[in-house]
Structure formats: structure tokens, C-alpha cells
Symmetry: C2
Subunit: 429 residues, 2 copies
């Protein structure tokens, strides 16, 4: 008998019909002889509706009260799901984040989990009950106030609970069949990846693949907990996210002839590029610039500094950042223009990032050359380049993203023989 | 400096605009130098919408999960109210029933409060914060599960918290200006009662006056806590519900020349009458009948047994009950028809109950005669009669209720010189 933790996002429990469908799936897992713990997000648009209500009442609501408000969303979905399961003749108990023992710090709206003490969940399982847990929420250790975990919070709740309960697997249900070699909306022949390492998944997530959030993958990697990403709309096997060691074991067992060099192609249209033009080429100027940006709370992604033109003694520094941080970044930089002595600022939000990810590329020279050649053949101009051991990212014009993704996907033989992806629409939290 | 507990019903916080209005009222009370604790119900129709969702998922949802679902309603309203107060520059903290220390038994959907330990509320008050508490909910002592208190739950929460905090007053905000001598929709000249005893209020509530629920008045009487019933739509003084001793003190101080004999006229159209015809006039037959009804969970109000007709050795037993219990009552009685040997059952839901209430009637003979004469003059036929020390109730035809109420109101000089009641519409929970 296995202990399975399942997580269903908002689109999987959007209405009464969806909730009843999910309940059947949960009961089937229970009937198959497993202990089941379910983590659930708020129904469909509930969170947005609550945020809208808050805006009507106060332009800048206190974080504590906003968390109190938003957590009512999961309260509704989890109670309804427990009812639907009871209706199928199985006992279910719903638990808030606090009741489930999700202990966090006091950062309202973006709390970090600092401990998980799932005594009541264990009790429910011992009583042969299915435990339904509110995702996205916890209780602060210091103030005992209700907190929310921020983006990707429900996935993180599921993985954290699975780790604390020593579960056999954490199943993340979504509206696609798993993690694909590229976004199937861009590359219809994208293939579902059957097995992928935590590290590659992290690079995929950081590069714009929206299936799993960084936090939850980081958490799973720390506890070596297998994640099974799959669709709540089908019974197909999805994508297993496992450790590098588990990947190698699977490969040596001959289940896969050889690990593919490249896992997939990710893309991200949400970034913008800022160029600081004419920075005096002196020690410490770059440090001043990025210290200023950090103080303004701006997240920097890629950074490129051109070689200084000897004649002028000045250089240009370009970096990418979330487009939504653009205004804050420009404002903070303008304040130090005189003291740093740079000439001007350029801002471009019509960019896109295309990333090639694969643990295999470490040991395969020539991947970079092949990637760049594919883009050149497709007529795509590269503006910036950044690499890690298992990733190559390039910045291109936003309207060239699709072309670049398609070209790279084809160049590395990632295309399936036939179209297998179905995108069901909707996003969870 | 006084400690004021205020309770706002669902119609007072129906939308963002109402919530902001209530927030201003709360802040005004705080600014006047009071410590303020606010108990709030779910917004407008939230509870009905959640019940509807539950019905879509399961025809008979488990009580524990239904309570988990419904309590999200107050979570939303209290968080929004705290935000609105923060927006006015005052610190507010919202607390669930559990956080506020409302400890109950485990009867989901109709839990009884068994203890109130408002440590966190006291802490908030010490920090000069306004405490907002979710009405209608608590946490069970045994299972630590979330519970709801059932009908009138938010009023009861307010009174229980006020008692535990030793508050100076519990203000119950509603959509009328207080408790009236009769329903102003029937008697436009009904007067607002400035001061009334717990006992008379209990009789009014039991007889169909919908302002305060029995439970909350009983609770207030036990702890001798003054309740001030007033409108959230005006600044007028409402009705003070106090102990008989406080009434006498007020009277001896000369604030009122003499306590009026009759406080008011209540009516109730929600009852039905069942007559068990031809019951053999033997010892124990009535006991069997009412034991059967009790086992079926039927609440009985008035009972009348006619004198046995000597010739037949049979009698008729009539009783009133909530019309909604009619079907259950008839079904259970039919099962014992043969064993008891009664002849037939009559059911009439076209009745109404009109009650004259007043602590003064104890010492004033002739009240009953005057009441009956007034009804007779108005052409109203009396079907059943029941009395207590401070109440006389009669059952009349449902279409004669308005006539009876108006006639009694006039006969006891309860009419105001001018119309003063405004009914704003809407109901809380």
C-alpha cells in the first residue's frame, strides 16, 4: 500500500461537476489500496474575485487581512471536495493549512514553510479517511496568524506535506498531460517527457515553462521526493520528476536506451531588457548599479557587459528582468545617473527568452553550435546569451520566439511522430 | 472608557459600500474613546450561495464539511471589514471563531457554546486594535473541528464574547430601529420600545418577533448583559434589553412614569395546527401521542385538549407546530393510529398566532378580557388559547392576523402619535 499525495489546481475544481469528477479520481486511487492525501486550490476564479472585493474596499489592504480573505477560497473548495467524496461512500476530512500543520514565517502573501507537523493528517489516514488539505496557506509560527505562500503555493504545500508524511509520490494534476519538450501551442509535435531530473525541471521552470513552480521543485529535490505531473482530464502516465540518480538507475535498467541529450525547449515572453549606456569603466560601477536594483526589489535574470571600448573608457551593461519590474528599475537607476555617471538608459520589453535544457549537454560538445546554427538558419537574431551547465538561453525579438522554439525543437530531433499533446486550458495557483 | 461589542448582520455588510459604511461607524465608536470588538455575519446572500454549491455536490453533505464550507462566509466579510477599517487609519485584526476562543460542543450545524477564552481578543484590545470576530462559528472542544452555531448564531457569538470580556454593552445592529410594540409593516403606528426585560424579549422572540433570537437573549439574561438593539442605518437610540431589576431601577429613577402594562403584540404565521380526532379517553393516550412526536423530532408549541364528550368516551387533541414539521408529524402519527385507536387527523396550516406580551399583566386583572373583547369587536374568531405569566397567545385564521394585531395594539394604547418605524428590509443570520 502506497501513500499518495495528490494536488489539484483551481481549473480542476472550477465547478460542482469538476469537483465530482476529481472526487471519483481520488476514490479510485483509494480503492486501488492507497492512502490518499489531497491538496486543493481555490475554485477557478475565486481568488481573483476575492482580490477584486478587497480592491473595492481598500486600495492597499493589510497583508494579514488579505491572507485571511484569500484563504477562504481553499476552504470552500476543500469542503465541497470532501462532501463529494462522502457522497461516493468514502470518508473524507478537510483540513485548513493550520490544521494540517503547515507552519510558516510571518511574511503575509509570500510566506515560507518552516515546518510541517501533520499530526491530524496522520490521524485521519489511520482512521482510513481521505485527507483533503487547503493548498497555498499556513499559519505563522510567531503570530499564529493565517498566511499564504504566494505563487505556486499549492504545489509547494503538496510537496511539503508529501515530504513530511514520507509519501511515495506527489502527484501534481494539471490541465496538460505532463511536461513537454516545448509548449504544444507553439510546437504541435512536442513530445511528453516521460522522466526528467529535478535540475532540468528547475531550469525549465526558471526559463518560463509554467507547469511546475521553482519552489515546489526545489522542495522536492531537497527531500528527494518523486513528483508525477499528469492531467486530471485523462488516465495517461504523465511526467516523472526525479533525482539524477533515479534517472541513471532507470536508464541502466534499460527502460530507456539512452538519456536524450536535450530535454526540451522553454520560452518566456514576460521579461524586458534594460541597457545602461556609457558606464565609466571603473571598478565598482557595476556593483553600485546592481546594489541599487536589489534595494529596489528588482529581480535580475541575465546580465551582459560588453567589452569596454578603449577609446572612450566607457562600456554598456545590459540585463533582463521581469517586465513588471521595469518601472521600479528605471526609477531607481535614474536616481544614481549623476553619481555613477552613465549616459542613458534603454528599455525594451519586446523581447523573448528561448532556452535549450538538458542534463546531457554537459558531455556533448557542439550543442551550442548546433543551437545557434538552427536559429541562424531560421533567420533569428540573437541579442543576448547566457549559459549554465545544463541550459543555454538566448534573448531574441518577441515576435521571433515561436520561430526560434520551433527551429531548436526540430534541430535536436525532439519532434514526435505524431501530435500527442492536448492543452485543456485554464491555470491553477 | 467602555468596552463595546457590536454585531453587524449580513444585510449590514452586503457589499463593499455597506462594509465601508459599517467601518466608519466602528471607527466613530473607537474615536469616542471605547474599546471595540465587532462580530460580523457573512455578506448578504453568501450563506445561501454556499449552501447551493453544497447541494450541487452532495444531496446530504456531512455536517463537519458543511460547517467548514459555511464558515468561509464570515472569513470573507471580517477580512474585508478589517481592511476597510485599516483604510480609515485604525488598526483592526480579524479573528475566526476558533482564534477568538469560541469553544463549542461537536454538534455540527447547531453547536452550543461551552466556553469562551478570548485571550487573543484581549491582546488585540491591549494593543489598541479593533478586534473583528467571525460570528456564527466556533471550534469543538473534543475534535478541534470547525463548528457553526445554527440560527441566530452571530447574535449569540456577540453576547457570549461580550459576557466573557465583561463588556459594558452588546450592540446588535439590524435593519430596524429597535424592538417595536408590533410589526410596523402591519401596524404603521407601532412604537419603538425604549427598554424591555429579558423575559418579555424571550416571549416576543418565541412568539414570532424576528429581531433577536431566543438563544442570544437567554445567554444575555444568564450573564445580566445589557443588549442594545439598534439600526445600522441611523444614529437613533434603539431598544435596551435589560434585567427586570434594571427596569425597576430605571422606573424608580423616574425616567419612565410607570412601566407600561403591555410591551407589545407579536405574531407568527409559520405554524400549523394538527387535530387528532376521536382519541379514546384513557390514561396515557396523550403521552403516547406526544412521545411519538418527540421521537420524530417535532417541536410542539400550544396544546389544547377538549373536554371529553361523555357519550362517546372520546376526545380531540389539537396542537400547533412549525408548519415545516407538519409532514413528519402526520407520518409518525399515522403509524400509531391503530394502536392508539384515534379516528382521524386534521391538518391546517392557514393559521396565525397573535400574542400579547407584558410583564405588567401579572398584576393587572382584566388584560385577558380586554384582549378577547378587542378581537371580538374586530370580528376575529379565536381557535386556541395559551397563556403564561407575561403572555397571552391566541390562534386565529391566517388572514385575520393583521386585523387581530391592529385591534390588540389599539386596545392597549400602544399606538404612537405618529409613524416612527422605518423598515429597511433584508435579514441577517
Amino acid at each position: 500500500m502506497a501513500l499518495v499525495v495528490q494536488k489539484y489546481g483551481g481549473s480542476s475544481v472550477a465547478d460542482a461537476t469538476s469537483i465530482k469528477r476529481v472526487a471519483q479520481r481520488i476514490v479510485a486511487t483509494k480503492k486501488a489500496g492507497n492512502d490518499v492525501v489531497v491538496v486543493v486550490s481555490a475554485m477557478g476564479d475565486t481568488t481573483d474575485e476575492l482580490l477584486d472585493l478587497a480592491q473595492q474596499v481598500s486600495p492597499l489592504p493589510p497583508g494579514r487581512e488579505l491572507d485571511m480573505l484569500l484563504t477562504s477560497g481553499e476552504r470552500i473548495s476543500m469542503a465541497l471536495l470532501a462532501m463529494a467524496i462522502a457522497n461516493l461512500g468514502h470518508e473524507a476530512r478537510s483540513f485548513t493549512g493550520s490544521q494540517a500543520g503547515v507552519i510558516t514565517d510571518s511574511s503575509h502573501g509570500r510566506a515560507r514553510i518552516i515546518d510541517v507537523t501533520p499530526g491530524r493528517i496522520r490521524g485521519a489516514l489511520e482512521n482510513n479517511q481521505i485527507a483533503i488539505v487547503a493548498g497555498f496557506q499556513g499559519v505563522s509560527q510567531d503570530t499564529k496568524d493565517i498566511t499564504t505562500l504566494g505563487r505556486g503555493g499549492s504545489d509547494t504545500t503538496a510537496v511539503a506535506l508529501a515530504a513530511a508524511l514520507d509519501a511515495d509520490v506527489c502527484e501534481i494534476y494539471t490541465d496538460v498531460d505532463g511536461i513537454f519538450t516545448a509548449d504544444p501551442r507553439i510546437v504541435p509535435t512536442a513530445r511528453k517527457i516521460p522522466r526528467i531530473s529535478y535540475e532540468e525541471t528547475l531550469e525549465m521552470a526558471a526559463c518560463g515553462a509554467k507547469i511546475l513552480h521553482l519552489r515546489c521543485v526545489e522542495y522536492a529535490r531537497r527531500f528527494d521526493l518523486p513528483i508525477h505531473v499528469r492531467s486530471s482530464f485523462s488516465q495517461k502516465e504523465g511526467t516523472w520528476v526525479v533525482s539524477g540518480a533515479a534517472m541513471r538507475d532507470a536508464n541502466s535498467e534499460g527502460t530507456e536506451m539512452e538519456q536524450p541529450i536535450i530535454s526540451g525547449v522553454a520560452h518566456d515572453r514576460s521579461e524586458a531588457k534594460i541597457t545602461v549606456v556609457g558606464v565609466p569603466d571603473k571598478v565598482g560601477e557595476a556593483a553600485t548599479i546592481f546594489k541599487t536594483l536589489a534595494d529596489a526589489g528588482v529581480n535580475i535574470d541575465m546580465i551582459v557587459q560588453n567589452v569596454s571600448a578603449a577609446a572612450t573608457g566607457r562600456t554598456d551593461i545590459s540585463f533582463t528582468l521581469p517586465a513588471s519590474d521595469g518601472s521600479a528599475a528605471l526609477t531607481s537607476l535614474k536616481k544614481i545617473q549623476d553619481s555613477v555617471g552613465f549616459e542613458s538608459l534603454l528599455f525594451d520589453d519586446q523581447i523573448g527568452k528561448v532556452s535549450l535544457i538538458g542534463a546531457g549537454m554537459r558531455s556533448h560538445p557542439g550543442v551550442t553550435a548546433k543551437f545557434f546554427a538552427a536559429l541562424a538558419d531560421a533567420g533569428v537574431n540573437i541579442e543576448m546569451i547566457s549559459t549554465s551547465e545544463i541550459r543555454i538561453s538566448v534573448i531574441v525579438g518577441q515576435d521571433e520566439v515561436d520561430t526560434a522554439v520551433t527551429a531548436a525543437h526540430r534541430a535536436f530531433d525532439l519532434d514526435a511522430d505524431q501530435v500527442e499533446a492536448v492543452v485543456y486550458g485554464g491555470t491553477g495557483r
